[in-house]
Every structure is written in C-alpha cells, then in structure tokens.
C-alpha cells in the first residue's frame, strides 16, 4: 500500500514538471541587441547596428523595423521596414535619401547607416525584429547624439603621454649605451694598433741603435708615449687586480 502511494506521487510530480516545461520559456523568444548610445559629428555618417538572436530558423517571413522618436517628441515614427526579403527605406520623411540598408538578415544583422547627420537627428532609434513563429521578444533602443566634435574617450591622452615619455626615455638610454659601447670598442682597436706598432719599433730600434744616431730620440719619444698610454689604459681596465698587485709588492 505504502509503495503504491509513493509511486503515484512520483508520477504526479513528473506530469507537473512536463506541463510546466512546455509553457513559456525564456529561451524561446527573439533577442535584439543594439548599443546604448551612439555619437556622431554633424555632416558625417553613423552606423546604427542592430543584431538579433532567434531560436527559430531565419525564414523568408522575417521582418525588421526601425522607429525614430525625436528628442523632446512623444511620437515614434517608422522609418525603415524589411519584409519578405525586400528593404523599404524612408523616401518621404526626414531621412529621405539619407538612409542606407547595410544589414543581412541571414547573418542576423539589421543595421542601417544614416548619412549627412544634422541636429534634428538627435533622438532614440528602436530596432524591432520579428521572425515568425518566433515573435515574442523585446525591441532594443539606441540613442543618437549629434555633436560638433566627438569627445575623445577618457584615457587616450593619459595613455599616450605615459607611453610616449617612457618610449622616449628608453630610446635615449639605449642610444647612449650603444654610443658608449661603440666608443669603447674603437678605443680597444686603437690600443691594439698602438701596441703592435710599439713591438715593431722596439725590434727595429734594437737592430739599428748602433748604426743610426739621429733616429733614437724620435723612437724613444714614440715608445714613451705609447707606454704611458698603455699604462693609463691598463689602470682603467684592471681596477682591483692591479691594486692587488701593488699591495702584494
């Protein structure tokens, strides 16, 4: 008896669950997405993008509508309609010859472009998409602001100043180190040449010392100069070991 009651209860629960699942569900609706605000400059063009997501296959009966409510007005006028694969653009209202259909329903895109903006275009644009049988859903609104100059986003000036100065400083430091490295290398090359010359002159002076009497003063002068230069270079490069040698002595 008890087992039978439990079995009945479980069946009832299953039935209730199935019934509730077949009712209205949040995923079985059409979702429309537009940006919240769009900024445009007077005289230029702006793209009002509208994308949607539908749980049904995109059929031929899909319809996309754009409404416009001017700033300070309570009326919302229809300015664009797309139905049965054919776009219908406003050719009598305030957007006459200024609107362009750039959307593609197959790609879930219902965007329009408005050229030659004017201050009267300030207002709210509403994008509404219906894809039978998927017709339940919220339309989305985008507010257009037409300004003389579009303000730059916050952080552009900040980031560019920081990045520019850091780059400049890094470049300067790199250039200074490169120059120093090249200069030291040149010094080493010159040093090697001087020491090679000194060796050659020493050998020759040893041979001709007895024969020529006028040459020695010049040779000695050269030897002295090269020796002093070599000693100075040795002092610079060998800091601690040289001192250690002195200490040992």
């Amino acid at each position: 008896m008890a087992l039978g009651a439990i079995g009945d209860g479980r069946l009832l629960l299953l039935l209730v669950g199935l019934l509730s699942a077949s009712g209205p569900s949040p995923t079985l609706a059409i979702h429309v997405y537009t940006p919240r605000e769009v900024y445009g400059t007077v005289g230029s063009h702006v793209t009002l993008s509208c994308s949607f997501w539908s749980s049904e296959w995109i059929s031929e009966d899909i319809s996309i509508t754009w409404h416009f409510q001017a700033e300070g007005s309570r009326d919302s006028i229809s300015i664009f309609h797309y139905a049965k694969g054919q776009p219908y653009i406003d050719d009598v209202g305030s957007f006459k010859e200024r609107m362009e259909w750039v959307g593609n329903p197959r790609r879930k895109d219902g965007s329009i472009v408005i050229h030659n903006l004017d201050y009267t275009d300030n207002g709210t644009f509403t994008c509404d998409v219906k894809n039978p049988p998927d017709i339940v859903g919220k339309s989305s609104q985008v507010t257009l602001y037409v300004l003389e100059k579009v303000p730059t986003r916050y952080g552009v000036v900040l980031g560019s100043i920081i990045g520019g100065v850091l780059l400049l400083v890094a470049l300067l430091v790199a250039v200074v180190y490169l120059l120093r490295f090249c200069w030291l290398r040149r010094q080493a090359v010159l040093q090697r040449r001087l020491s090679a010359m000194e060796k050659g002159k020493l050998q020759r002076s040893a041979k001709d010392a007895s024969k020529r009497s006028r040459q020695p003063p010049v040779l000695y002068a050269m030897l002295d100069h090269s020796r002093s230069a070599k000693a100075a270079a040795e002092k610079k490069s060998k800091g601690a070991p040289g001192e250690a040698r002195k200490d040992k002595k």
């Binding site: 730059t152 916050y154 000036v157 900040l158 100043i161 920081i162 850091l166 400083v169 800091g239 601690a240």
Partner: protein
Amino acid sequence: MLLLLLGIIVLHVTVLVLLFVSTIVSQWLVNGGQTADLWQNCTSGTGAIFQCLTSSTNEWLQSVQAMMILSVIFSVLSLFLFFCQLFTLTKGGRFYLTGIFQILAGLCVMSGAAIFTVRHTDWHEASENTSYGFAYILAWLAFPLALASGIIYVILRKRE
C-alpha cells in the same frame, strides 16, 4: 660610509612615499566639505558619508595624472637601478643612470603640479573657499627633494 648609504636610501624612500601619497590621495583641492582631484570628487554628507564621483575627463587633468604616474614610475625605476648599480659599478664610478631617473621624476612632479596650478579652473568653477589640499602640497614638496636626491646620485662616487 654605511651611514651615507643609509641616508641616501632614506631620502629616496621619502621621495617615493611622498610621490605615492600625492598621486593616490584625491585631495588636491579642498572646498569646505568637498575634496576634488586627482581621481575623484568627493562630498562628505551628513556624518561620515562620502559621495564620490570620478573627476572630469578634461585633457589637462589627464596630463597631470600622466605626469604624476610617470614620476612614480621613474622614482621606482631609480631605486631599482640604484641597487643594481651598487653591485655592478666599478670603483670610482658614478650613479649616472640612477641620478638621471630621479631627476626626471622630480621634473615630472614639477610639471604635473605646475599644469594643475595653471589649468585647474578649466574644470572647476573658481570659488573663494577653494584651497589647495595636502596632496597638492606634498607634490610640491617632493619636487626639490627628488631633485636633490638625483643630484646626490650624480655626484656620488662608488667606494669600497
């Protein structure tokens, strides 16, 4: 010798702390119960309730923010380079790189504070009660200290 090293490090850390506090605390202007800049404008309501809004997006304020951030970066780099050069420099060598970065930090602080002084009326209406907050004063304090610290590094020779 060790005393000199300690003194130099203490000076550098002091400059760093001044720069950090001046950059982070948003109290460059004070007007009664309201504090403003560099990052937030706060009003203290009844009791201890603060209502804060982000500061204006004016380009001059952004440049002041950039200069303060740069000064902090340069000072930190300078401290790091000081310890690097302490162990790698040859005897008798000078701490050029450390000194140059510290001097750059001082110049950045100065330019940031100067730009703020000249241009703060662009994004705040001038009123009689507005006075400069302590973060602004710390910025001006950090400038000569940073410069002095940098010059000491440039003059100092490595011993021992």
